[in-house]
Amino acid sequence: MMTGVALLWAELAVGLLALAVLCMDFVAPRLDKPVLGYVSVLGLAAVLADLVQRAGRVGGLGFSGMYVLDAYAVFFKALFVLTAILVLLMTLEYADRLERGQGEFYAFILLATTGMMLLSSASNFITAFLSLELLAITSYILAGYLRGHPKSVEAGMKFFVIGGVSTGTLLYGISFVYGATGSVDFKDVAATILNRESTDPALVLGMVLVLVGVFFKIAAVPFHVWIPDVYEGAPTPVAAFLSVGSKAAGFALLIRVLLEPMLAMKSSWSVVVAVLAAVTLCFGNLAAIPQRNIKRLLGYSSIGQAGYLLVGVAAANELGIGSVLFYLLAYLLSNLMAFFVVVIVSNTTASDEIDDYAGLWRRSPLLAAALTIGLLSLAGVPPLACFFGKFIILGAAVQEGLIWLAAVGAVNIVISLYYYLLVVKRLYLWEATDPRPLPVTLVARWTLAASTAGVVFIGVYPSPFLEWSLAAARVFF
C-alpha cells in the first residue's frame, strides 16, 4: 500500500518533464526545438514502461481520499501516456507549421497529459474539477495555437467559450451535490444517497448538471457542437489529441462518477445513457457522410465512436466497462494512425480535403495502407482491433437486455463503413492529379508500422488486453 506523494509518481514525472521542457526551451535555439520533442517522447516512454511493469502491484488511497490509485486509474494513465507519445511523434512531423512556440507546444501536451492522469485518479469532485480544468485550459491554448490562422483562432475561441460553459455547469452541479449531501467525496456521496429514503431534487439536479458537464467533454449528442469546427481549425496533432485523450479522460471520469457516487441511481441513469448513446451513434455517423474535409469527417466519426463507448457505459456491467476500456485502447491506436497520415499528407499537399487524397496508393503505398487500416479498424472490420471492441460492447449491451441498443449499434456499423469507404475509395480507386511520390520520414514509417502491427495484433489476439481491461473494470464490481 502506497501513501502520500508516492502515489503521484507518474503525474509528477510527466509534470516535471513538462517544466523541464519549458526550461530547456528558453535556452534551445530554433533549430534544436525538435530535440525537446524527442526528449519528451523518451521521457514518456520511460513512464509508460514503468506503469505497465508495475500495473498489477500498485494501489492506494491518498490525500484524505482525494486521490485513488487502482487498476482502473493505472490503465487510464498508461492510455494517456501512450496517446501523448503518439501525438508528440505526430507533432514532430507537423513542427515546421508551428510558426511560434514549438517548445511550449510540447510542454502543453505534457501538462494536458498530467491533467488527464490526475483525472483518472480523482475520487473527489474537487480533484476531478481541478484536473479537468488543467486539461481544459491547456486544450484551449493548444486549439488556438496557430495565431496567424483565422480558423485556428476561431477554433480556440469556440472551444474556450463552450468549454467554459461546460465547466461552469459542472461546478454548479458539484455545488448542488455538496449542498445536498454535505460532501464532495465520491464514496461519501454514494453512502449518503444509499441511506436516503427519498430522492432529493437538489441532488438530482446537481447530478444532472455534473453529467452534462462531462457529456460536453466526451461530446455526446447534443453537447457535441464544438467538435467539427474545433477539429477542423486546430492544428492536426491537437485535433488528434482531443479526439483520443480528451475523450478517454471524459470517459474515465464519467464511469467513475456513474459507478461510485451515482451507483444507487443506476436505474435512472442507465436509460438516459442508453438513449444518449443511440442518438450519439446515429447523429455522429449520419453527419459524417457528407463531409468533404478529412478532419471534420474524423471529428464526426469520433462522435460516433463516443456513441459506441456510451453503449458500453449504458450496459454498466463488468463486460460493459471492460469493453469500453478495451475499445478505448483499440480506438486510440486506430484514430491516431489516421491522424498521423493526415499530418504527413497535408505537409506535402497543404490540403485537408478528402478529394486531395485521391490516388494516394500510387504516391505512397505505406500511407494509403496505414490510413486504410486505421479507418477500417474504426469501422469495425476484422481482423482489426476495434472489431473486437465493438463485438464485446454489443455483447455487453445484449447481456443487460438492451437488445434495441445493440441493434442500433449494429446498424451504425454499416453506416460508418459507408463514409470510411468513401475515403478508401479515393485512396485506392481514384487516380492522383499529381503522381509524385510523397516523402515520409523514417520516424513516421516506424511509427505507422508499429501502430499497424499493434492494431492487427490486438484484433487477432485480444486476450491479454481484454484481461487487463476486465481487471481494471473489476474495481467497480
Binding site: 454489443l394 456499423i413 454499416v414
Partner: protein, 522 residues
Amino acid sequence: MSWLTIIFLAPVLGVILILLTPAENKTAIRRLAAAATSVSLVVAVGLLFLFDRDAGGFQFVQKVAWVPSIGISWHVGVDGISLVLVLLTAFIIFTGVFVSFSIEQRVKEFYIMLLTLVTGVFGVFITLDLFWFYFFYELSVIPMYLLIGVWGSTNKEYATMKLTLYLTFGAVIALVAILALYVMAADLTGTYTFDLLELGAIAFPQNTQILLFLPVLIGFGILVPMWPFHSWSPGGHAAAPSAASMLHAGVLMKLGAYGIIRVGIVLLPEGAKAWMPLVAVLCMANILYGGYVAMTRRDMKFMVGYSSSSHMGYVLLGMASLNIIAFTGAVLLMFAHGIMTGLAFALVGWIYEQSHTRLLPEHSGRYGYDSANARDPSQAKYPELSGLAPQLPFIGGCFVATGMASAGLPGFANFVSELMIIVGAFSVYPVQAVLAVFGVVVTAVYYLRAIRAVLFGPVNPAWGKLRDARLITERLPYVVLILVLLIVGFYPSLLVDVIHTGSVAVMEKVAQGATIVVQERP
C-alpha cells in the same frame, strides 16, 4: 496442429510472402499465389480421402483457448458438409489464381486481396466457434470492395459499394442474433461460450428459437442471395474481375447457406421448422424470377449472375425440405454449382478480356432493359459477338460443357444434385418441386441461346484476332473444373457419402429439436 489450420494458414503465408516481394516482380507474385493455393488444394483433396466416412462427426479437430474470459477458442473441425465446402473453396481459388494471370495492373495488391479473401472463407468453413465464424464472415466482405473497385469493370464503384454495404448489413443482423444466442446460452447453462458444439447441445426454448431464427435467416440469407435480398448480386457479379466473380458466386454465396445451416438449422431447429415454409416460397422467386430475368439479359455476366441466384434457389429448396435426400442434394449442389459458376465466369471473363464486350448479339432474341447497357456504353460500340467457335475452339468447348452442366445434363455433378433436391423436396413441397423442374428448362434456354448466338452464329470477321487458351497455365483452370464436375457427376458417392454423414447429424438434430451431441474425433 490440425490439417485444417494448415489449409487456413497457407494463404496467410502467401499474403506475407507477397507483401515482401517487390511489386515489379509479377511472375514471382503469381507463382507464390499459385503455390499457396496449391498447398491448400492438395491438403483439402487429401482430407477428402482421409475422412472417415463410417465415423462421421467432426474430424481433424483442434481446440486452443483464445480468449478464455469470454469463451472464445480456436476450435476447428469439419464434418461432411464443411469438408466438401472447403474442397470447393480450394478448387475455386486454385483455378482462380491461374485465371487471374492475365491481370497486369497492380498485381501485388490483387493477389494480397484475393488471398486475404480466401483466408476468410476457409476460416468460416473450418471453424467451430461462433465468434470466429462471424469474424471470418465479416473478413470476407471487405477485400471484395477493393477487388471489384480497382480491377472491376461495368459500373464498379456503385456496384462495389452497394455489395459491401448490403453484405455488411446482413452480417450485422446475424451478429445481433449471435450475441443473443450467446447470452441466452449463458443464462441457461451458466457458462459463457461461443463453441458451436457446446451451443448445439443446449435446448433453447421454442419461442426463442423461432424468434432468433428469423434474423439468422435474413442476415445470412442476404449473402445466398435469397429473394428479395438479392439486388446487390447481379451488379456485383458483372462488375467484378473474373477471379473475384468466381470466388464470389462460387464460394461466398455458399457462406450464406452454410451460415443458415450451422447457426440456424443446427442451433435453432425449432426455428428452422417454423420458418422453412417461408423459405420454400421465397426460393421459388429465386429459381423462377431469377431464371426469367437471366433470359432477358444481354450482358453475359449479368446472365450468369442471375443464373447463380437462380441455382441458389435450388439449394434453398433443398435446405427448406429438411429431409436427408434434399439436404444432401443441397450441399452437393453447393459444390457442383460453385464449380460450374466458377467455370462460367472464367469463360465469360476470357471472352471479355479479348473482345471488351460481353453483349449477346442483337439478333439472338428480345432483351429487357439492361442496366449494364445503359451505364457502360463502351461495350455497345464494339462489334457483336458472333460465331466465335472456330476462333476459340477450346474456350467454346468449355463453354458448351458449362452450359450443359448448368442445365443439369446427366454426367455432370449438377444433375445428381438437382435430382436429389427435387426428389427430396417432392415429398414435402410438391408444388415447388414441380415448378423447380421448369427452372431446369429455363436454365437450358438462356445458356443454349448464349451458346448458339455467341459461338455458333454467323462468323464475324472483326474477331479474327481473338486468342484461344493455348498455354498450360491458361487451359489448366478450365480442365480442372470440368474434370471435377465430370468425376463427381459419374461417381457422386465420392462426395455424397461424405456429405451424408453430415446431413444425418443435422437431420437428427432437427428431428429431436433439442439436445444432440455431435461426435468429435481428434
